[in-house]
């Protein structure tokens, strides 16, 4: 039912332990993947549903694109509405939203590592490896001790959404002009306590060391030393596995990265050819050549985009459109954020072997450490006596671009309003970038490129290396096509 084999071709899917549905078609030759096609088989039509509605309806509809990135979707929608209105929320609201966005990202990184990524190393195929008994005990799907601990730690961390959002997923308090919930001094203390408890969990279980020690890692030698004789913890365990299996030689794509900038003050940017650069939003366009969508004649800037499924399209092999920046595919995610922010260790990793299975996962774990620190200081900056919301009137005509960083990378909403109603709403999600199909030049998307050269053993029907590459991107398929 799931894999059909013909000589040289393998279809892998459905994938378990990814968010949503995914199917990958591989062409094989000489024991490796020669080309890959990535299919996002789930389409709901959110952009069509939004058309004709009141712009405020986006606040309820858009988060429901995704049950794990819902706050990021809300953030992008609110940013688009505020851009439309030219509104400036008060500092408290900016900080409060940023805390919620960052906390959701932390939760996703934690889930990715423990529930989605690591259990693949507890497969029987790795039974002979020296690290196997430890991985099996800690990461066996749903039953491993570290998995249970992570799920519990995340539930505790998400009390933040109880306090600030009333509910998660699908939080409602993020509003144009601010937040619906003004925090008091007691809430502030509780938030601080939750973040501290989570920090202790990370120090105990994931890193086995104070976060300061993790944040002090700034070059490859220090990282090697941590692997060889660093503190006992799941971070070191991963470094050992990555070293043993050569994960840094696996899953390299184009080494072009983009980030919209995580948090206020952090700018959007790119990282390519070993250096940072500017990001011009005007040069983003979507190509429909291999998406089952009408509009294949030209590339569309998202303000001018369309989402009309074309079931009769024979060339299309995915519901996913192909976003391009300056005509080229780009990768996004924690590694892109760290690179654009100028993280010396992640930059050293990328300069050595580019984006790969190992460097993507390390970037995520480093971000966990860094963000917990930052969220703690954001909580301290809240002024409970200050304003939390300013009245914001939305104009009947206009457009707005809202961007944010979801756990999986750059998320953008392009909104156009006419006569007080949504005339067009286009969304490009992080996995839309990473799992895009080919474009009109025949250039594959980042995952398609990353899979090329991945080893597949004879008769291997669910190739382990393919699983590692796919999961290293932490796909969110329900966001990819919405």
């Amino acid at each position: 039912m799931s894999e059909t084999e013909s000589p040289g071709r393998l279809i892998v899917g459905p994938f378990n332990r990814v968010e949503g549905d995914l199917e990958v078609q591989l062409e094989l030759g000489a024991g490796q993947v020669t080309s890959a096609r990535v299919n996002s088989p789930l389409f709901r039509g959110f952009e069509r549903i939004l058309e004709g509605r009141s712009p405020l309806d986006a606040l309820v509809i858009v988060p429901r694109i995704c049950g794990i990135c819902s706050v990021s979707q809300s953030m992008a929608a609110v940013s688009a509405l505020e851009a439309l209105a030219g509104a400036a929320p008060p500092p408290n609201a900016v900080i409060a939203r940023e805390i919620m966005r960052a906390v959701e990202n932390l939760g996703d990184h934690l889930t990715h590592f423990h529930v989605f990524f690591m259990p693949d190393f507890a497969r029987a195929a790795y039974a002979g490896r020296p690290w196997f008994p430890l991985v099996e005990e800690r990461f066996k799907a749903a039953a491993g001790s570290a998995v249970r601990e992570a799920v519990t730690a995340r539930a505790g961390l998400f009390h933040v959404f109880g306090i600030m959002g009333g509910k998660w997923p699908h939080t409602l308090t993020i509003q144009p002009g601010g937040v619906a919930r003004a925090l008091d001094a007691r809430d502030k203390v509780r938030l601080g306590a939750i973040i501290t408890a989570f920090r202790h969990y990370l120090e105990r279980s994931l890193f086995g060391a104070p976060l300061e020690a993790v944040l002090a890692l700034s070059d490859l030698d220090a990282l090697d030393a941590w692997r060889a004789q660093g503190p006992e913890g799941n971070f070191r365990l991963f470094l050992e596995i990555a070293h043993d299996l050569g994960l840094r030689g696996l899953g390299r794509a184009f080494d072009r990265f983009l980030s919209y900038g995580a948090g206020p003050g952090a700018g959007a940017g790119t990282w390519r050819d070993g250096a940072g650069g500017d990001l011009d939003f005007g040069r983003i366009a979507e190509d429909h050549s291999f998406a089952r969508m009408t509009g294949r004649d030209r590339r569309h800037h998202p303000f001018d985009g369309s989402t009309e499924p074309d079931g009769a399209d024979e060339a299309g092999y995915s519901w996913c459109k192909a976003p391009r920046l300056g005509g080229l595919p780009f990768e996004t995610g924690a590694i892109a954020r760290r690179l654009v922010a100028g993280d010396p260790l992640v930059e050293a990793l990328a300069l050595r072997d580019g984006g790969n299975v190992e460097s993507r996962v390390i970037a995520r774990l480093l971000e966990l450490a860094r963000e917990v620190e930052r969220i703690g200081s954001l909580v301290r900056q809240l002024e409970v006596k200050g304003d939390w919301h300013v009245e914001t009137r939305l104009p009947d005509e206009g457009r707005g671009l809202g961007v944010t960083e979801a756990a999986r990378g750059a998320l953008g909403h392009w909104l156009r309003v006419e006569g007080g109603r949504i005339a067009a709403y286009q969304i490009i999600a992080p996995t839309t970038w990473n799992f895009s199909p080919r474009d009109s030049d025949g250039v594959p998307g980042p995952l398609e490129k990353a899979l090329e050269g991945t080893p597949v053993a004879d008769g291997e029907r669910v190739p382990a290396a393919v699983q590692h590459v796919v999961r290293s991107f932490d796909p969110c398929m329900v966001c990819t096509v919405h």
Binding site: G13, N16, G67, A141, I163, G311
Partner: protein
């Protein structure tokens, strides 16, 4: 298969101690609103009854139901329930991939024919022969029909499976269709909400597994124990509603004082759910407590009923001078009307099914 395992054996195998098991039984009794004398009955049932497998399928959805479920309040309850069901089939959590995963489905259907529970998250889209949701190369609607055929009962998790939810909003591009309109010959328990409250989900599963029967349902097919009261009935801001004290804008004086959110568009007065009693994220809060009105996400059609920020017009308005008794009377009248409307709709639906 020689002998079917009991729940208790499964839990022990998962490393849950006897002491934790008994604690879980009494917690479950409490969560279900049963007296303490029910705890030994739950324990006995779990020790002696063969385990009922749960197959958890995902259709067109956003996975918010699973996300809610795995954060259920009591870690023990969550562990136990998870260990009961993740053994079987769930896309998001299980270890195996591809054909191994599909093989597990076939195996369970064969070994437990007529004796497993099917839990559905999301719904099937019917346009274009179901091609908007393809699982393992086939439309999800086919998988749903296949697994449903030999199931004992179906749990429709969340508003997608129960009613359609936002993906079925106008113009419903994929014709996303709730489960009960596709599977018409099985008992279906609807647990609506976007997502449903974690504790409601675990309690419903536990009830069905331990007592081997379906909880008492209302006319719409929702378990009465969680969906028989409106958010408004148990809202801690209710006294402000009765006193005519309302929030007019986010972060105004009334908002800081925790006044009623009715004028901000709160749908609490027409929404049946347990948010105001059980609350969210391990009981920390719920939307109204965070200063935002209820959007009525557990009600059928909540996605196409007009603005979420416009005040309800189908319940009468009162001034500050109105006394609590008058208000209570008018509200009861409105609720009566709402129930009558529901009844009419369900009767219509039944008539449609008969015609099919």
């Amino acid at each position: 298969m020689a002998r079917l395992e009991t729940f208790y054996e499964v839990m022990r195998r998962q490393g849950i101690t006897r002491r934790s098991f008994l604690k879980y039984c009494s917690l479950t009794a409490a969560a279900l609103g049963l007296g303490p004398e029910f705890a030994p009955r739950i324990a006995h049932a779990m020790e002696t009854k063969p385990r009922t497998p749960v197959l958890w399928l995902h259709g067109l959805e956003c996975t918010c139901c699973s996300e809610s479920f795995i954060r259920s309040a009591h870690p023990l309850a969550k562990d136990v329930v998870l260990s009961m069901i993740s053994l079987d089939y769930d896309d998001t959590l299980m270890a195996s991939a591809g054909h191994q995963a599909e093989a597990i489905l076939d195996e369970i259907i064969r070994d437990y024919k007529g004796n497993y529970i099917l839990a559905v998250e999301g719904n099937p889209p019917l346009n274009e022969d179901g091609m908007y949701c393809i699982i393992g190369g086939k439309p999800f609607v086919d998988q749903l029909r296949y697994v449903a055929e030999h199931s004992k009962a179906i749990i429709s998790w969340g508003s997608c499976a129960s009613f359609g939810c936002v993906q079925a909003a106008r113009p419903n591009p994929t014709r996303a269709t709730p489960v009960h309109q596709v599977i018409t010959n099985k008992p279906i328990i609807k647990v609506p909400g976007c997502p449903p409250i974690a504790e409601v989900m675990t309690a419903v599963v536990t009830y069905m597994l331990t007592f081997d029967r379906i909880p008492e349902l209302d006319r719409q097919g929702r378990p009465k124990m969680f969906y028989s009261q409106r958010i408004h009935d148990k809202c801690y801001r209710r006294p402000h509603f009765d006193a005519g004290q309302f929030v007019e804008h986010f972060d105004d004086e009334g908002a800081r004082k925790g006044y009623c959110l009715y004028k901000m568009g709160c749908k609490g007065p027409t929404t049946y759910n347990a948010c105001s009693t059980i609350r969210w994220n391990e009981g920390t809060s719920f939307p109204i407590q965070a200063g935002h009105g209820c959007i009525g996400c557990s009600e059928d059609g909540f996605w196409d009923k007009g603005s979420w920020y416009a005040r309800l017009t189908d319940i009468p308005q009162f001034g500050i001078e109105a006394n609590a008794d008058q208000i209570g009377l008018t509200v009861a009248g409105a609720a009566g009307a709402a129930i009558a409307a529901h009844t009419a709709v369900s009767a219509l639906k039944r008539a449609q099914h008969k015609g099919e």
